[in-house]
């Protein structure tokens, strides 16, 4: 049975288009258009005042943090709390620049190919962002470029037998496309939706307005949590995993140009969450230490994953966000415990340089 078709059949719609209603809607639009005919464009205002306030708060948090500083990148933290507080201190002390730059590579394993001879591919999407601290400077991003590669030698052999494709249909609908296409650098619409909680989008201004006090930040984020806002596949009637939800929002916040003191506060909130533990060192050749929290999904047959964050010991930056299978099931039933099924590698930091020029590929 085609599940999408059953949806179309069930939601049949009440009545076809009504010409009177359409004519009225068009008239309202035209009336608005006429009033805008000669309206001047409103120039965007710089947000310097907000930046100064955020800087002052950053100093306050750095002073308030009374936990010892981890001096060398090699030092091994004793507890998850001490490690996160040291990450918070490094972050709060960071110097901002004109641009927050971020390069991300998001990996995800997919089981693809013929049903009789499936194989696993690592599907990667690379993106880059240049977010201006000052609204007068342009923000840019480079649109995703996807590549894919079979994971093991056996996967490679199966992929070859499948004809070595660069495009796959997914059993659950949709497709993956790793065919090469030209890189583009595009304007980022005033940096809106750098961070989103359900329908609430955060631009740079709203990110700056987030509290730098851990308790206030936690309260603010949880204020967005409603019975509707879970994306953990839980039944709406089952009380949700608020902690897992908050952990996810905080990890997303760490990959945004939120002010240093706000990201420092995010680490301090993480330090207070139950179930968060150290997962050892690692991080793709960089001096990273991982924390993790196991999340389970009763809706998907009790499958559980370890949601790990790899944090740079030297400067408190997020290096990677990873999902490791603990109990197989859910969307990756074929993956054995311990398999890294989805992960994003980050390189982020402040920069004084101009972003690259806008470059669109011809259609």
């Amino acid at each position: 049975m085609d599940d999408l078709k059953t949806v179309r059949d069930t939601l049949a719609g009440e009545r076809p288009d009504d010409t009177a209603a359409q004519a009225e809607a068009r008239a309202r639009l035209m009336e608005l258009a006429r009033t805008r005919r000669r309206a001047p464009r409103v120039p965007r205002l710089p947000r310097r005042g907000v930046a100064v306030l955020a800087g002052a708060a950053a100093v306050a948090v750095a002073v308030a943090g009374a936990v010892q500083l981890t001096r060398t990148p090699e030092a091994r933290p004793a507890t998850v709390g001490a490690f996160l507080l040291s990450a918070a201190q490094h972050t709060a002390a960071e110097k901002t620049g004109r641009y927050w730059t971020m390069r991300t590579t998001a990996h995800r394993l997919y089981r693809v190919g013929p049903r009789a001879a499936p194989y696993t591919i690592d599907y990667r999407q690379r993106e880059a962002y240049w977010f201006a601290r000052d609204a007068r400077d342009p923000s840019r991003w480079s649109s995703p470029r996807a590549t894919a590669a079979p994971v093991s030698a056996a996967d490679r052999a199966a992929w070859r037998r499948d004809g070595g494709p660069a495009r796959w249909r997914l059993p659950g609908g949709g497709h993956l496309d790793a065919r090469p296409h030209a890189a583009e650098v595009l304007p980022w619409d005033d940096g809106k939706d750098l961070f989103a909680i359900d329908d609430h989008g955060f631009d740079v201004r709203r990110l700056r307005a987030l509290p730098a006090d851990p308790r206030a930040l936690k309260a603010r984020l949880l204020g967005y949590y409603t019975a509707d806002s879970r994306d953990y596949g839980l039944d709406p009637d089952v009380p949700g995993d608020r902690t897992g939800w908050l952990y996810g929002q905080l990890s997303a916040l760490l990959a945004t140009p939120a002010p240093p003191d706000v990201r420092a506060a995010a680490y301090r909130v993480l330090a207070t969450l139950p179930g968060v533990a150290l997962r050892g060192n690692g991080g793709a050749g960089r001096a990273g230490t991982a924390i993790g929290r196991v999340e389970s999904d009763p809706q998907l047959g009790g499958a559980s994953v370890d949601h790990r964050l790899v944090i740079d010991r030297a400067n408190g930056r997020l290096l990677a966000d990873q999902r490791v299978v603990v109990r197989p099931g859910g969307e990756t039933p074929w993956a054995a415990p311990g398999t890294l099924v989805a992960w994003t590698d980050y390189r982020m930091g402040w920069s004084a340089q101009d972003p690259p020029a806008v470059h669109r590929s011809p259609e």
């Binding site: 179309r8 659950g172 259609e363």
Partner: protein, 192 residues
């Protein structure tokens, strides 16, 4: 591709900055399908209002339209979906009513088609119940795909959420939907 609707939308919206009335072309091109989408989600009277509001909002925000996106379609579906989300209670109430409605299939001449129709009618209450139980993010993503025929890439543009989130929302929504329909599949297998 000059002349294709894709590049045409971007051109018209760009022209509407200096000549606002040009935006009527976007209205004429997309009003019927946007209204149809909202009609399926909230019913006819809400659809008339929300479809009109969608184009007023789009016009006010036309500075925000990214010409690189080409087609205005995902953008308009995104605006309509945000407006629909203000009526979540109404949508849930509507779905619950559909879930309670009894399935009364009509007999048809063609046997295969009749079976299909019977199946669709039998499935409706379960589908409506499953849709009502989805969280809003999953429901929006699923209905953009199922009703709007948007690709996952388009849903990314429409909702402004990352590609991976769209995949996971749609996949989870479809998994729940299939779980809700599993017993029907079994019945068909038993009879067939």
């Amino acid at each position: 591709m000059p002349g294709s609707p894709r590049s045409e939308d971007a051109r018209v919206i760009a022209a509407s900055h200096d000549d606002p009335e040009r935006f009527a072309e976007i209205f004429d091109r997309y009003y019927p399908e946007i209204r149809g989408y909202v009609d399926r989600r909230l019913g006819a009277s809400a659809a008339d209002d929300i479809a009109a509001e969608t184009f007023l909002t789009a016009f006010r925000k036309r500075d925000r339209f990214d010409p690189a996106a080409g087609s205005a379609r995902p953008w308009l579906y995104g605006i309509a979906t945000r407006l629909v989300s203000r009526h979540r209670r109404d949508e849930t109430r509507r779905l619950r009513a559909l879930a309670r409605a009894s399935a009364r299939p009509e007999p048809g001449a063609d046997e295969d088609r009749a079976t299909e129709r019977v199946l669709a009618a039998q499935a409706a209450p379960d589908v409506a119940r499953a849709l009502a139980a989805l969280n809003p993010g999953q429901r929006d993503a699923l209905l953009l795909v199922a009703l709007g025929g948007l690709s996952y890439e388009d849903v990314t543009r429409a909702l402004g959420v990352p590609y991976g989130t769209v995949c996971s929302r749609v996949n989870r929504a479809r998994a729940k939907l299939r779980a809700a329909l599993a017993h029907l599949e079994t019945e068909v297998a038993d009879h067939g």
